[in-house]
Amino acid sequence: MRYLSFIFKSAFLDFSRNKGRTILTSLGILIGVLSVVLLMALGLGLKKYISNQFDSLGANLIYVMPGNEKAMTSGAGMMGGIKFDDKDVLRVKRIEGCEVVAPVFAKPGIEMEANGNSETGELIASTDEINIVMNLQLEEGRLLEHRDNDKRAKTIVISPKIAEKLFDNQRNALGKTITIEGQNFKVIGIYKSKGGGGLGGSDMDSHVFVSNAAAYVFNTEKKYFAIYAKAESKDLIDRVKKDIKTSLLKRYDEKQFSVVDQAEIMGTINQIFNVLNTVLVAIAAISLVVGGIGIMNIMYVTVSERIREIGIRRALGAQSKDILYQFLIESVLLSIFGGIFGLGLAYGIVYLLQSLFPAYIDLISIILSLGVSSVIGIVFGVFPAKKAADLSPIDAIRYE
């Protein structure tokens, strides 16, 4: 106990005598830990954000999309490829256990104008069943109904965010007209916010909904980029998926379309994020190694400065391992200081970021960053410490 307290005290005394050096040395580790923890926090936040967005959709959903499943993972399947028509929709509707079927046409990046204001968003055209599939809740007015499609009514349902941007407040929006690429749509309702934001394209609140018939002006082929379906229960998902596939295989090649459920999409997205995150964190980890080299460098300097002290300690009976521990503890402490302050700073930044982005630091990040910084202290400290420990007592004590 006395031994350890002496060693720790000696380390702290040395740090306080060389404050600037201690801070600069720890800074290397601080930056490394900060960047690793921050990237992990951003990755986690992004993952959580996306899974939240998925959760805000309805349950038991099945997506029929163009492209094969492999291509889907790369996102390539979403573009080009086949489009579905009403015959396909009918085929899906006929599947037993398939509760709701919503053919979807989407037009991203549209410019909406009203009241002299403008806002970009994504037009989604479907039947009224989209309300169920996308789990839309009513805030004001009404959602799309069957009659909107039947009458080819130019009606539109928007989010509170868009209502506020275009009409200053939600109540003002109802009954007003929005112009999209020269076409006028009457606002009939506002759906409850889906949350999220800050991520542009993935922002659910940038969606505006019109009936398929009303969108034929944009969708002249009368084809759909996807068919969203909902199974009656969770247990039926696999069977419904299989039946849809079998049915569509009569018209298309296996490679031309895919039938996936939410869990699969989530899995794919998670996979992509995990790979991306690992790569980013690995790059950030390089700065940790650089920090470690900084520590090694300073520890070599410290050892040369204290050769005489090492000699005195050896003369008084310190074994070489006592000297080894002394310097090793110093380098580990330097490294852990950096780790703790890096973590603290990361916490601060994540806290500030939280209003913009759902980043968060999990327990694994904390354990990993402190663990890694101690390991760096040991790995990069062991060579200088070994050098100190291996000095011969007589050479050390005679050193001027």
């Binding site: 006395r2 031994y3 002496f6 005290k9 000696s10 005394l13 040395d14 005598r17 005489r308 002290e309 000699g311 005195i312 300690r313 050896r314 003369a315 008084l316 009976g317 310190a318 074994q319 070489s320 391992k321 006592d322 011969s392 007592p393 007589i394 004590i397």
Partner: protein, 225 residues
């Protein structure tokens, strides 16, 4: 009285560039327990080298050193360190205190490297030595804040903390004025006389050597008297 140190046919050789330098040539010394002796010689005579070998800081090129009858050449580095810790108390010309540690911590330093449980409290003992050597009030001072004579008394206290059998003093008065030097010499004599400690003083100063009971004269690496 039994032999405490036996230096048996010890040679120490260094390579100085291409030239072989013989610092010690066939040294044979027997030191009995409780002796007060001086190793005397001019600078470069090899007396410091001999002291380092007796103090287990250095190893002979040839020959053997026996401590209390045990051949040191068979000891591992750890065992030698432990022996230095328990058996020898060093007093250096340069004091060799650690400046960032307080007086009390400096005195206690050897005790933290003790490999066995001490049958006394080293802090109590350190405080006793502080009192005995007139250092009361300096416990929490730092070595560079006290006088040379006081520093050397701290060094002697540090040498005594482990109750060693042997005190090895290398030019203990070399960096002190004559008054402080005499005080230190008196202290070392007292340790020998009252506590029956074996004390070896290495010096070039014949006046210092005269204070001891036995003088080992060294010249050019050989014992001449």
């Amino acid at each position: 009285m039994s032999d405490i140190i036996k230096v048996d046919k010890v040679w120490k050789e260094y390579m100085m560039g291409d030239v072989l330098f013989q610092a010690l040539k066939d040294i044979n010394i027997l030191v009995k327990e409780g002796e007060l002796s001086a190793i005397v010689g001019p600078s470069g005579s090899g007396k410091s080298t001999l002291m380092h070998i007796i103090g287990l800081l250095d190893k002979p090129t040839r020959g053997k050193v026996f401590i209390q009858g045990k051949d040191i050449s068979t000891f591992t580095d750890n065992k030698i360190s432990t022996l230095r810790n328990e058996f020898v108390g060093f007093v250096f010309q340069q004091f060799n205190l650690i400046n960032k540690l307080t007086i009390l911590e400096n005195i206690m330093l050897p005790s933290i490297y003790a490999r066995r449980k001490l049958n006394y409290d080293p802090k109590e003992k350190a405080l006793y030595l502080i009192k005995r050597f007139g250092l009361v009030g300096k416990e929490n001072s730092y070595p560079n804040k006290i006088s040379g004579g006081q520093q050397q008394r701290v060094a002697i206290a540090r040498a005594l903390i482990m109750n060693p059998k042997l005190i090895l003093a290398d030019e203990p008065t070399g960096n002190l004025d004559s008054k402080s030097g005499n005080e230190i010499l008196k202290l070392l004599k007292e340790l020998n006389h009252k506590e029956k400690m074996t004390v070896i003083i290495v010096t070039h100063d014949q006046l210092v050597a005269k204070e001891t009971k036995r003088i080992i004269q060294i010249r050019d690496g050989e014992v001449v008297a």
